[in-house]
């Protein structure tokens, strides 16, 4: 009984230690599962993104989550801020700097969708052949899904 009690204490300690070590190493804020809090953070980020006036601003857009990750260089290192992507509101509530970046992301995304639609539609109506790439044969089903979801 004593041995299993000691084992349990040590096991619990090790698990907690691992979580602590991960936290300290990655400086990760343990995720707040509240969606409302997350949206509040995104809104605040868009109001005060801390973006520099000049310099490279690289972005990654996740259309499914509706968020844009903006990376910029400041104080000798890259920093990333997460912004909400709400073009239907004209990015209301966002700073001018954030709106500029989000408009760039929107233009880039719209172009991607438009050009990909043209490509996949041509494949589906037979005016363009489905080509293999690096020995990999594509799947027509993917073209059908893309056109169904994105192309009017």
């Amino acid at each position: 009984m004593k041995k299993s009690s000691s084992f349990g204490i040590i096991a619990l300690a090790v698990m907690l230690a691992l979580v602590s070590a991960l936290y300290l190493s990655f400086n990760v804020v343990l995720p707040d599962l509240s969606e409302a809090n997350r949206q509040k953070t995104l809104t605040e980020n868009c109001k005060n993104p801390g973006l520099p006036g000049e310099g490279e601003k690289n972005t990654v857009f996740d259309p499914e989550k509706g968020v844009v990750y903006v990376t910029f260089f400041a104080d000798g290192a890259d920093k990333t801020v997460e912004l909400p992507f709400k073009p239907s509101t004209n990015f209301a509530g966002c700073s001018d700097a954030a709106v500029e970046v989000l408009n760039d992301v929107k233009a880039n995304y719209d172009e991607y969708i438009q050009q990909s639609c043209a490509d996949f539609k041509a494949i589906l109506d037979g005016t363009k052949k489905m080509e293999p790439k690096n020995g990999k044969t594509p799947n027509r089903k993917g073209a059908e899904e893309f056109v169904r979801e994105y192309c009017s």
């Binding site: 204490i9 230690a17 990376t71 000798g76 990909s116 044969t137 799947n139 073209a143």
Partner: protein
């Protein structure tokens, strides 16, 4: 009390050990990774496509400095210790000169006259939709669809071919999943004086640290 002390000592020891193992890993990641994005890099660089390394590029201004940059990238990533999984390194191929997306294109380079921020270049990626992953017979998420924006005004003002090639190598490095890197010579230095003392101008190929970074992006 004894139980508490036992707990405290086990917790303390395990935390220290955990930190000793994790901190170096995180330090490497922090230098090379792009960050906590959904899914980094390019499908045809990944395990899903057997690390083929073939990257098809659409550019709206095909030029010899682009292809010169691709040659430098391949030469400095082929047959290397850090990128042993890629049989031919990173093999970038000019696919079209309209700069238009298609299912075959992995990366797009667009030269823009009125570049919004004045930066020499930027990288804007979209997470590939699940239907694109289905098209190439793999599961979602399956990588990014990146566009490199090159400031055309700046480009036209750069007289040195090496500088233009270095810019292409740097910006396409972001497309491959790399962040800026400032603690050693790297194609991902950004040229500023507070990033590796501006030594970016001395770098004309992927360095060991860049190759380590690429290897880390594609598990």
């Amino acid at each position: 009390m004894k139980k508490f002390l036992r707990f405290l000592s086990a917790y303390g020891a395990a935390t220290i050990v955990g930190l000793l193992f994790l901190l170096p890993v995180v330090a490497v990641q922090a230098n090379h990774y792009k960050g906590t994005y959904p899914n980094e890099g390019l499908l045809f660089m990944s395990a899903a496509q057997n690390y083929s390394g073939a990257v098809y590029v659409a550019s709206n201004n095909c030029n010899s400095d682009e292809t010169g940059a691709y040659a430098l990238i391949q030469a400095s990533t082929d047959n290397t210790t850090q990128m042993a999984r890629w049989n031919n390194g990173i093999n970038m191929v000019q696919y079209n000169c309209s700069g238009t997306w298609s299912n075959m294109v992995d990366l797009r380079i667009l030269y823009q006259t009125n570049h919004p921020t004045g930066a020499w270049g930027e990288n804007h990626s979209v997470l590939a939709p699940s239907s694109f992953c289905t098209y190439w017979n793999t599961s979602y998420p399956c990588g990014m669809r990146p566009t490199v924006h090159i400031n055309r005004t700046t480009w036209n003002g750069i007289s040195s071919a090496n500088s233009r090639r270095r810019l292409i190598m740097h910006e396409t490095g972001h497309s491959h999943g790399l962040n800026h890197h400032c603690t050693a010579d790297s194609i991902m230095n950004n040229g500023l004086s507070n990033c590796n003392s501006g030594r970016w101008t001395q770098v004309m190929s992927y360095q060991a640290t860049d190759r380590t970074g690429v290897n880390s992006v594609y598990p």
